[in-house]
Symmetry: none
Subunit: 410 residues, 2 copies
Amino acid sequence: MIVEVLAVGTELLIGQIVNANAATIGRRLAEEGHDAHYQVVVGDNIERIATAIRAALGRADAVIITGGLGPTQDDLTREGISEATGRQLEFVQGAADRLRARFASAGRTMPEANLRQAERPLGAEFLPNPKGTAPGLALVHEGCQVFAVPGVPEEMEALLEHEILPRLRGGGQGIVKSRLIRTWGSSESRVAEMLDDLYGPANPSIAFLASSGEIKVRITAKASSEAEADALIGPIEQVVCERLGSRVFGVDQDTIEVIVLGLLEERRWYLATAESATGGLIASRITSVPGASNAFRGAVVTYATDLKTGMLGVPESLIEREGVVSESTAVAMADGAATTLGAEVVVSVTGSAGPDAQERPVGTMIIGVHTPEGTKARTMRFPGDRERVRVYTATAALHLVRLAVTGEWW
Amino acid sequence: MIVEVLAVGTELLIGQIVNANAATIGRRLAEEGHDAHYQVVVGDNIERIATAIRAALGRADAVIITGGLGPTQDDLTREGISEATGRQLEFVQGAADRLRARFASAGRTMPEANLRQAERPLGAEFLPNPKGTAPGLALVHEGCQVFAVPGVPEEMEALLEHEILPRLRGGGQGIVKSRLIRTWGSSESRVAEMLDDLYGPANPSIAFLASSGEIKVRITAKASSEAEADALIGPIEQVVCERLGSRVFGVDQDTIEVIVLGLLEERRWYLATAESATGGLIASRITSVPGASNAFRGAVVTYATDLKTGMLGVPESLIEREGVVSESTAVAMADGAATTLGAEVVVSVTGSAGPDAQERPVGTMIIGVHTPEGTKARTMRFPGDRERVRVYTATAALHLVRLAVTGEWW
């Protein structure tokens, strides 16, 4: 079924709030196997609400309207539906009585303004709202199912789960299931190239998402059951993973921080970081994971050069000979921190994050990893501004820890 | 001017990500005095992208399209614009050369797929993207200004501020100028209460924005010239600053990191951090500022308790007696780090970030500050999940450094 989501509220248009309702509804619709072609946001204006509803009636099998059902003058969804469908609003005494009783049970007198919530377009039905005063609305107009629910997220969610989704089921369209394959080490376009022949309007379909240097491949299957969806996804997932090899580090919710901590815990190894250019960012990301203390000792941020010597024992002569931004210094930092912080694994970073170059061109970042097997360093180059360079470097550092610990880098 | 925002991406329709871009753009358009009637989201489908663009062309003076400019097969915004406007895509050799040079400067070979980013509809102009490879597009079609920018928030924001908003100004309607007053130490509702009589549809208007524990007051003036706008903003700014007193720490682009580094540099003092629960987040935020090395020494993240003793010299007996999450431990960490790291000022953090409580209830965070005048600690309590507690704590820590250095905390 094609379902369109229409959110009503000027506060959305001017960015006072983010349209999280549309994402929630979109996700649930996808999980239930429905298709979405458009989402629309419109302000508190009867004519424009009606225009948006007419557009949805013309191209979707169902439309879910959020917001604009409150008691005040700028709540215009009821009027907008009436205008779009040519169905007059009728006042329902029973609904008014229920509203009054609800206020009374809370020890309050109902303001007269709330009587508007007892109005509905002819032919519509009220949907009981367990979480608030405004009832939802359901109407079938010229074959299209129209629903209206309040914009308050918990009220919207209750009506979505208990009233709307059950009414949209039954078409026997089945479910939609996704699998996220997480990769690092190649660009989005390189990954897309490697999977080019899998792309297209097939079932399962694949799509690509990039963030902070990682590329995610999403495999989405439509099927009549979860088992059938899994059977469709399985073979494609295998092909994707085979082609991308050690680029793949996790699936679904496995972030690199979680993966690295898991690999260390398995080995009963502890991690520490020795950071210069990233300034504590790697440690901060690792410790964002609950339970990080099971595999993380701590960090030394040696932003001043003399601290590299003083706290990590990097020989002054080495820095003079090779420079601060050098693989030798990264190795010495990692080895030094292993002793100072008492860790089996250390990742170190030294580099030139910009905007001014330090010894090497801006974006040159050197990552060292110490493990019980030895210590190595790699020189990398990242484009973009200081913040981007730091974030991509922290991501790369975590991935090099992964590869070093599993022995793939050695 | 009526401006419509169109977001392209199936990941939005199926709720994998929330359409935060639309809120950001909507807010900035409102601040600049533009009107918004509709926002639309459409999936990765040429026909539907073209349909949405046609609808916007017919009812808005400008349309801003986000997303779908990447290098892969599912990036279809260029094709959608071409389809909607009947303008063929042309390949621009100069743009291809720039892309190739950008990859080369990062030591990488450009995948052939990226050549698509050198295509533009006839008559369109490329908008340089300082934060990524995909250039934006600008086109005037039948009197409507059409812009396309990548969906990556930082790239979208850079192009919005530096390319799109300046082009939407002008029209002779005068200018809009804003002044941001940054505060910390009181809640949004408390700040709003203190400025209640200034609120309303006046010129200048004021608005409140909350982020990570800081409250920003934005004063916006519409005027025919910059000088006139300044004359409108000046008196209100003075009233706001007088009423909010030492809560105000900066204006416009003055982040707390920049302010703290400036205060230290003036005094030729150096800062270090000794972090436990924040795990390097404070150091990471300080070093995100270019030139931080002029006033920042480094950090020790003593996540494991024995490192607090070993690296910072916190007496074991003190930890046994008072606990790790105590003001005495925070003071000892700050004093120890001042010696270990050779810094005049140290901020230390120990606390219980959650999800499981450590000694004290989740959200209890203790911040210590060492300066040449002495060392103090303050116990604070933050609501929310682990990440929120950590971010709010880092912000509070930076503000306590500010107050300690200026003598306001003493």
